[in-house]
């Protein structure tokens, strides 16, 4: 019993880095993704082409490869980042690209008449986006954003290749040391608990934005 308790405590410590990667990536990637989607929709061709390339690059290569690139290849050209910063850079760039495409589809789903109504009432572009378009976009993108966010919880486990002691790596270390598979089950419970909280949270948000 003591054994199990100390195992759970060790793994809870591993959760710390998992949650750190999760929250910081989310906080950075959501606004970046929004900016990227607006740039992608820009009528200025060079900007939208650049965003298209960035999104293609990020979605077209494995996140694992991007992590390895930031961690091992960047130092070769003199850019040496601390472990956590390196992981966050890769995660944020990757997730911002996915969020950008989600936001783009949401923005494009708003009928042209909404822009025209705002325009004839005298609203500026920033006012139109902030007050009329984006509040409606949130409702449309909540389900896919929720999906992507839950993916992020599980994707954090990829940092085990950077030798950072996240939840999964701690579990694996104990398994290898004790020849006991229980830590895998405990890890599964931890991940399920996190995604449960997220699912519940997004359900609440959807109910809130679904009131109209």
């Amino acid at each position: 019993m003591d054994n199990l308790l100390s195992m759970v405590l060790q793994m809870a410590e591993g959760c710390e880095i998992t949650l750190q990667i999760f929250f910081i990536t989310l906080v950075l990637a959501l606004p970046l993704g929004l900016l990227a989607s607006l740039a992608r929709l820009s009528e200025w061709r060079p900007l939208s082409a650049l965003m298209e390339f960035y999104i293609w690059l990020m979605r077209g290569t494995p996140l694992m490869l991007q992590l390895l690139f930031v961690y091992f290849a960047l130092p070769m050209v003199g850019i040496l980042l601390p472990d956590l910063a390196a992981a966050l850079l890769a995660f944020t760039l990757n997730y911002a690209a996915y969020f950008a495409e989600i936001f783009r589809s949401g923005i494009q789903a708003i009928p042209k008449g909404q822009y025209e109504a705002a325009q004839t009432l005298g609203l500026s572009y920033p006012q139109t986006m902030r007050r009329i378009i984006l509040p409606q976009v949130i409702r449309i993108v909540l389900p896919p954003v929720s999906n992507e966010t839950i993916n992020l919880v599980k994707d954090t486990s990829l940092i085990y290749i950077l030798a950072m002691n996240d939840l999964l790596r701690v579990a694996r270390t104990i398994v290898q040391r004790d020849f006991d598979m229980t830590p895998f089950l405990v890890a599964a419970v931890f991940y399920l608990a996190m995604t449960f909280v997220l699912t519940w949270g997004f359900k609440r948000l959807e109910a809130h934005y679904g009131r109209y």
Partner: protein, 255 residues
């Protein structure tokens, strides 16, 4: 004197989409308190003309004058618009009602009304609320201020849209086929609101398929086809004795 003030004057308006000419030399004017009805078959350019008036579409050449100030003039064959501040002021003189209502679905009826006065005119919420409620009363929806647009019928939504445009205190109201998306039994309530507005001497430009409305409420009727004005006149004359063959054919089809 005040009644002869020219509110809108459009001169020699040309507009094409790609290679297709939609407006081919249109002239028209509206005086204060007048109701101009623009009728014609679909594709005649009547909606485009209205949309050119408040710059939802830009003209290729011609001139647009709002209350004596030029929104657009033509130099060397190309239309040039007024600088941003003046343009904003002139466009602010006009309110627009759309075929598809275009209410903001995430806001309540009351929010729909007060949003633009607060954002664009910088009015305080408390300052604009009484007027907004008065307008809702006027369009018969005083008890619906906390409803979302999706909870209202099409006719109610369109009346909210009219109140929303009025809340900006425009001098000219533009209507783009305001009843075309409504079930027949709901057009009456919207037309009633528009008639009341006309009776209060609001200057109105109305693109419509409602011949009865054009006949009774309009002070002037324009019939368009193929980007041209085919015929125009006061409604009594226009509907009783259309001069042009095409007008006769169109009116026959509509009745």
């Amino acid at each position: 004197m005040a009644d002869t003030e020219i509110m809108v004057r459009m001169h020699d308006i040309h507009k094409s989409f790609g290679g297709l000419t939609v407006l081919d030399g249109i002239d028209m004017e509206v005086k204060r308190g007048e109701v101009l009805a623009i009728i014609g078959p679909s594709g005649s350019g009547k909606s485009t003309l209205l949309r050119c008036l408040n710059k939802l579409e830009t003209i290729d050449s011609g001139s647009i004058e709002i209350k004596g100030d030029f929104l657009a003039v033509t130099r060397e064959g190309r239309a040039e618009y007024a600088e941003a501040a003046k343009e904003h002021k002139l466009l602010g003189c006009m309110g627009m009602v759309f075929q598809q209502f275009n209410l903001f679905p995430h806001m309540t009826v009351l929010q729909n009304l007060i949003e633009a006065p607060m954002l664009v005119q910088g009015q305080k919420r408390e300052a604009i609320l009484p007027y907004a409620r008065e307008l809702l009363q006027k369009v018969g929806l005083a008890d619906r201020e906390d409803y979302y647009p999706s909870q209202l019928s099409g006719g109610q939504q369109q009346r909210v849209a009219i109140a929303r445009a009025l809340c900006m205190k425009p001098d000219i109201m533009l209507f783009d086929e305001p009843t075309s998306a409504l079930d027949p039994e709901l057009t009456g309530e919207v037309l009633k609101t528009m008639r009341e507005l006309a009776a209060e001497r609001m200057t109105m430009v109305v693109v419509t398929h409602e011949m009865a409305f054009a006949r009774e409420a309009a002070s002037h009727v324009i019939f368009m086809e193929g980007g041209h004005i085919i015929e125009q006149g006061v409604p009594e004359e226009f509907f009783a004795h259309p001069r042009e063959e095409r007008t006769r054919a169109f009116l026959q089809n509509m009745l």
